[in-house]
Assembly symmetry: C2
Homo-oligomer: 255 residues x 2
C-alpha cells in the first residue's frame, strides 16, 4: 500500500538544473505554494549546494530532504501522471494543458489516488524531447508571446501558484473594516441629517433651487464610501468641530 499522505501534493522534478540559485529559488517558490517534494535529476553542481541553500531562505529546513536521481526515469518511477513544462511546441501527440487546468486536474487525480509530478527542464534549454516523451501531458503558461521566457523558479512558482489556488478558499473580495462593523442605513441617515443641518446653518445650501440636487449628490458620495460605524462617528465629530469653529469665528467677528 502506498503512503497516501506522501503524495497528497505533486512532486516537482528539476531535470539537469544548472544553477544552485535556481534550485533554491524553486524550493522557496514550492514552499510558498505548499509543495515539498523536490527531486533533482543529474544536477550540474554537487548536492547539497550552498547557493541553493541561500536562495531558498529557509525553505529546505521546512521540507523533506531533496531527492537526487541519476536519470529522469528513476525520478518519475513512483508517479502515475506526469506533466512536462514546456514553452515551445514539441510536435508530439500529447495533451497540452494550461497550468490552471493542470492544477484542477492534478487535484482530481490525487483525490483518485494518483501520484502527480511536474517536470521542468534546465535553464535555457528546457526539457529534451526524450524526457518529454516520458510525460503524460504538456503544461504551458500562457504569457506574452513576444517575451515569454521565464526564469526556472518563476515557472515553478506559476505552476505551484495554480496548485495552491486550486485548493484555496480565500474569499476573492472582502472588506476589512478594521474591527468596526459597517454602519447601518439608520446610522448613515442620522449623519446625513446632522451634516445637512450644519450645511443649512452655515449657508452652504442657501440656493433653494440647487439645494435638492446638492443634497442628493452629497448623499450619493457618502453612500458610495460604504462607511463603518467608527467612520460615521468620526464624521459626526468632524462636522461638529468644523461647525464650532465657524461659530467661534462668528462670535469673534461679533466681538
Amino acid at each position: 500500500m502506498s503512503d497516501s499522505s506522501k503524495h497528497a501534493s505533486p512532486a516537482i522534478i528539476l531535470v539537469t538544473p544548472q544553477m544552485g540559485e535556481n534550485i533554491g529559488a524553486s524550493a522557496r517558490a514550492m514552499l510558498n505554494c505548499g509543495l515539498t517534494d523536490l527531486r533533482l535529476v543529474d544536477p550540474r553542481d554537487e548536492w547539497p549546494n550552498i547557493k541553493a541553500e541561500r536562495a531558498a531562505v529557509g525553505a529546505f529546513e521546512m521540507m523533506p530532504p531533496v531527492k537526487v536521481f541519476a536519470t529522469t526515469s528513476e525520478a518519475l518511477a513512483d508517479l502515475t501522471y506526469v506533466y512536462a513544462a514546456t514553452a515551445r511546441d514539441r510536435k508530439m501527440a500529447k495533451p497540452i494543458v494550461t497550468a490552471r487546468y493542470a492544477a484542477t486536474e492534478a487535484k482530481d487525480k490525487i483525490a483518485a489516488d494518483g501520484r502527480i509530478g511536474f517536470m521542468f527542464g534546465a535553464e535555457r534549454m528546457g526539457l529534451v524531447n526524450d524526457d518529454v516523451s516520458l510525460a503524460d501531458a504538456l503544461v504551458t503558461v500562457p504569457l506574452n508571446p513576444e517575451f515569454s521566457s521565464l526564469n526556472l523558479a518563476q515557472a515553478v512558482l506559476l505552476v505551484g501558484y495554480e496548485w495552491q489556488m486550486a485548493g484555496d478558499a480565500t474569499p476573492p473580495t472582502q472588506l476589512d473594516t478594521n474591527g468596526s462593523p459597517l454602519a447601518t442605513k439608520e446610522q448613515l441617515f442620522d449623519f446625513f441629517a446632522h451634516f445637512e443641518r450644519e450645511l443649512d446653518a452655515c449657508g452652504f445650501l442657501r440656493n433653494e433651487e440647487a439645494r435638492p440636487n446638492m443634497v442628493r449628490n452629497l448623499r450619493n458620495m457618502w453612500s458610495r464610501a460604504h462607511l463603518t460605524e467608527q467612520e460615521v462617528r468620526t464624521l459626526h465629530g468632524v462636522v461638529k468641530e468644523l461647525s464650532s469653529l465657524r461659530e467661534a469665528r462668528g462670535r469673534k467677528t461679533q466681538d
Copy 2:
C-alpha cells in the same frame, strides 16, 4: 482627453525598491505578462542601474522608459484606482481582494476608462501604512500561511500573471496530434480486427473462455489512448512486422 492607449494595462509602482536586481527581475516579469508601465518611487540606488539592466534580460528595451518619482503621491497622480500589494493585515478599512479578483476588476475598470496601478513596497518591509492609505484596495496573493514571504519580482509576477490570464484565450486543454488527425472509429476498429486476427493466429487468444474478456480489455486500452491516424498506421506496421517475425521464426524452426 487622456491617451487611452497609454492606460490599456495597469502600471506597476515599486515604492523605495532596494536592489537593482529586483527592479530588473520585476521588469522581466511585467513584460512576460504584457505590462510595460513601470514606475519607481525613490529607489535606493541610482537610476538607470546596471544590475537592473542585467536582471531584466532585455525587457527594458521593449518597454517605454521607466519613470522615477520622488514621492508615492506623484507616482500615482494620473491613476484612478490603485491596488496596494500587502502580505499582512493592515488594520485599515479597505477592500481586500485576491490577485485573481483584482485582475478581472482591473480589466472592467480599464474598459470603463479607468487608469489602474498596482503598488508594491520595498523588499522585507513592504509598503508603509501612509502609502497604503493612498490606495483604493489591498491586493493579496493567497499562499502557504507558514511560508508566504515572496521575493518582490515574484509578487509582481503573480499579479501580472493574473492580469495576463484575465485576458487570455488559450484553450485550457487541447490535444497536440503532431499534424495527424485523430483516428476515426472505423480506422480504430479496422486496427482491432487486424490486431485480433494476428493474436488468434499466434495463439495468444487460444483460451476460448478468456478470449472475449481479453479482447474487450485490449480494445479498452487502445480506446483510452485516443490514437491519431498516424499512430494507427504505425500500430498496423508494428503488428505486421511482429507477425512476420513469428512467421519467419516458424519457417526457421521447420527448416
